[in-house]
Amino acid sequence: MSYELIPAARISSSGLNAERMRMEVAANNIANAQSTSPNGENLYRRKQVVFESVLKDKFNRSINSSLGGVKVAEINSSNREPIEIYNPSHPHASENGMLKKPDISPLEEMVDMMTATRAYEANLAIMKQSKKMAEKTISLGGMG
């Protein structure tokens, strides 16, 4: 592993990346809340990120190499059934006039966005402090 000037910068940035990805997925879900498709085929389904911690304890027990932060393991499509509404004039409606829409709840996405924002802030706070620590270490070499 390469030498790190700022402690934990790699770990914190993995956290920032993961939370940003969650935010993007929530935004994508909201943007597609009204998406339809002809006869409901290949309809958009709610996406969900799955986080996984990166731990390498098995190979090396030293602290520096066993803490790997977090990564997005997969972006999973929910298997929730689409909701059907009666709208015969819509070009994507089926023969009996039913239109399929993805079952996306704005509330759920908002909660996801809020927790992602808070977690992002927490990761940013620790990154700031780590930077200060590095600066203090460097100032030891200065005069005075």
């Binding site: 402690p7 934990a8 770990i11 914190s12 993995s14 956290g15 993961a18 939370e19 969650r22 799955v50 986080f51 996984e52 911690s53 304890d57 027990r61 030293s62 602290i63 520096n64 066993s66 803490l67 790997g68 932060g69 977090v70 927790t115 992602a116 808070r118 977690a119 927490a122 990761n123 706070a125 620790i126 990154m127 402090q129 780590s130 200060k132 620590m133 203090k136 270490t137 100032s139 030891l140 005075g144």
Partner: protein, 117 residues
């Protein structure tokens, strides 16, 4: 080394351990939303005090603490027991500890410098 004075090696070891703890806290925070993640903690207090008591400063240079799983915190319904608020608290405590040891080391170095002059 400076005669029998171990201040410099002790203080720099403390800074090193504090840096490692910062990494552990960063890892906990990065995994604040990972299902099933158990928070980790860096344990070095007992080992450090034992080494200082025994005056074993050679082993002290090698020590780097142990990672332990903290199962005492109550896990939420996704099996994750990281609480962002308590991690932020740990982080500030650790920052203060780091500043303290850094200031002490700087003062020690200034003392040595003025002795040289």
């Amino acid at each position: 080394m400076l005669g029998e004075d171990h201040t410099v090696s002790l203080l720099s070891k403390m800074m090193e351990l504090s840096t490692s703890r910062q990494k552990v806290i960063a890892n906990n925070l990065a995994n604040a939303n990972t299902p099933g993640y158990i928070r980790r903690e860096l344990d070095f207090k007992d080992e450090l005090s034992k080494l200082i008591k025994d005056g074993d400063f050679e082993s002290l240079k090698q020590m780097d603490g142990k990672l332990i799983l903290d199962k005492e915190n109550v896990a939420g319904n996704d099996g994750n027991n990281v609480h962002v608020s308590s991690e932020m608290n740990e982080m500030s405590q650790n920052g203060i500890l780091f500043s303290l040891t850094q200031k002490a080391l700087k003062t020690k170095m200034n003392i040595i410098k003025s002795a040289i002059k």
